[in-house]
Amino acid sequence: MSLPRSPERPAGRGRLAVLFEQAIELLIRLCGISAIVFVFGIFFFVFREGAPYLAQLDLGAFLFSSDWYPSNDPAHYGAGALLLGTLSVTLLAMLMAVPFGLGAAVFVSEFSAPRTREVLKIVIELLAAVPSVVWGFIGMSVLGPLIKDVFQVPLGVNMFNAALLLALMSVPIIVSIGEDALKAVPDSYREAALALGATRWQTVFRMLFPAAKNGLLAAVLLGVGRAIGETMAVLMATGHSARIPTSLFDPVQTLTATIAAELGEARQGSEHYQVLFLIGVLLFTLTFAVNLTADLVVKGIRRK
């Protein structure tokens, strides 16, 4: 018997092979770390563009004032209406998307026949593949006139219109992640509930929802993330007017749409330009908080 060689050079491998192995490992390591680098890089550059304005920023006015007059003299940069616009459109969208999306997830996972399930999943994923500018177009040219007629309101592009679009855009995410969460519940639990005499609905409400609640919550939060970050559709369908909305059919303006609409016109390095970047930071913080919550919640599933 011979003595084992050093672990760095396994028997039968040349120096080159070992080097190659190490190089590959390094490459993969870099790929893994790059995501972190990119995220921090983006945050850093966005923040750097907006930072000079921080010295004169009145945080209270920025967050809560609804006076958004960037081209006045002196200009007012109150993003309160924009923040409210984003939050209200997102909330309204979720009120529609969550019941609908979770209901669809339950149907796909628990009630549909295998063939129906396959068809439904493909179609739902197709819904996720529609580009957002197409959604915006539908909002302006189809939903807008429809809302005007049905609800007898002066303007068809408004909060309700945009929320409806956002709901349609987040439903596919909620359905596919929600369905995964429901599928992950072991079949033995369903059998236990049924053998105790539960109906299928009782099984869903009393057993399945509690068992899959973390996954379902993550599905909802990812849907929220999608809705908050959406730009093009809301730019086209909200009416884009920075006011505090008083009804569902008032036009609103969101943070994302503001940046998209105004950044091209703002002179680089100007106050307006810097404030738009600060809005970017605000948006970033918002979506980061939502994603982090979703992540922590999903981790919670694995721990159990």
Binding site: L194, T199, A211
Partner: protein, 257 residues
């Protein structure tokens, strides 16, 4: 032998097909009420399939065809006026792997009461049911302070006892057990068997087991199945000491299985 006891379960000419495969062939079985009856036989002989006929949980899978009669306490389970939900209240089932619901211990025990109640049962009724059921299976002392703990985090033996406990508030007449001890160690097996003895008399207990020693020590009557047929059904000591069918004799001697 005493006078024939009332039948807990009886089947006549029961056949069952999974698609084109016939899993049960003309089974005529009479299980006496208040006794523990063991179903034994080699893997794939249809004993679990037979067990799952009695609360009609087989019907979850499509392509299952059943013919013949199944009577639970004299009532045919396929009669049009039989409600599946009511049937499953009367016929409880314990599974091979303990499968407490991913809820608290308390909610597991009252799950049946909640789903069968017309209106919300008051908390006092539920509390009482939990204490009674857990006492009956010998878990009350260990778990009285942990009623809100997750049931899936308990030891396997406790989980299986809990699975039996959650049947009791529904006052079942029959308890079906599908190899209830196969996931448990020696201590756990002993505990479950003792629990079966304690429950005997009030319930018809039908237990599927792979473990012949368990069938021998824990059952009053024993039924031997082979390839979907019921070969022999008699008092346990008779079956093991004087099997009338040579196939039974060969199986209990361990020639195949």
């Amino acid at each position: 032998m005493s006078a024939p006891a009332e039948h807990g379960i009886s089947t006549s000419d029961l056949c069952l097909w999974y698609g084109a495969f016939q899993a049960l062939k003309r089974v005529d079985l009479e299980v006496k009420h208040g006794l523990i009856t063991a179903l034994i036989g080699p893997s794939g002989c249809g004993k679990t399939t037979l067990l799952r006929c009695f609360n009609r949980v087989n019907e979850r899978y499509g392509s299952v065809t059943t013919t013949g009669l199944i009577r639970i306490r004299g009532k045919n389970v396929y009669d049009a006026d039989v409600s599946l939900i009511e049937l499953r209240r009367r016929v409880g089932m314990v599974f091979q792997r303990p499968n407490p619901l991913p809820l608290s211990v308390y909610e597991n025990v009252v799950f049946g009461l909640r789903i069968h109640a017309e209106k919300r049962p008051p908390k006092s009724v539920l509390d009482e049911a939990v204490e009674k059921a857990l006492t009956e299976v010998g878990l009350w002392k260990d778990l009285r302070d942990r009623l809100q703990a997750k049931a899936t985090g308990l030891q396997l033996e406790q989980q299986q006892k809990l699975c039996i406990a959650r049947l009791l508030p529904l006052k079942p007449e029959v308890i079906l057990m599908d190899e209830p001890c196969s996931a448990l160690d020696v201590e756990g097996t002993r505990a479950i068997e003792e629990l079966m003895f304690a429950l005997k008399g009030k319930y018809t207990i039908l237990i599927v087991t792979h473990n012949m020693a368990q069938a021998r020590r824990a059952s009053d009557e024993c039924a031997f199945m082979l390839l979907g047929e019921l070969i022999e059904h008699t008092r346990t000591e008779n079956l093991f000491l004087n099997p009338s069918n040579p196939k039974t004799a060969e199986y209990i001697e361990g020639r195949y299985g």
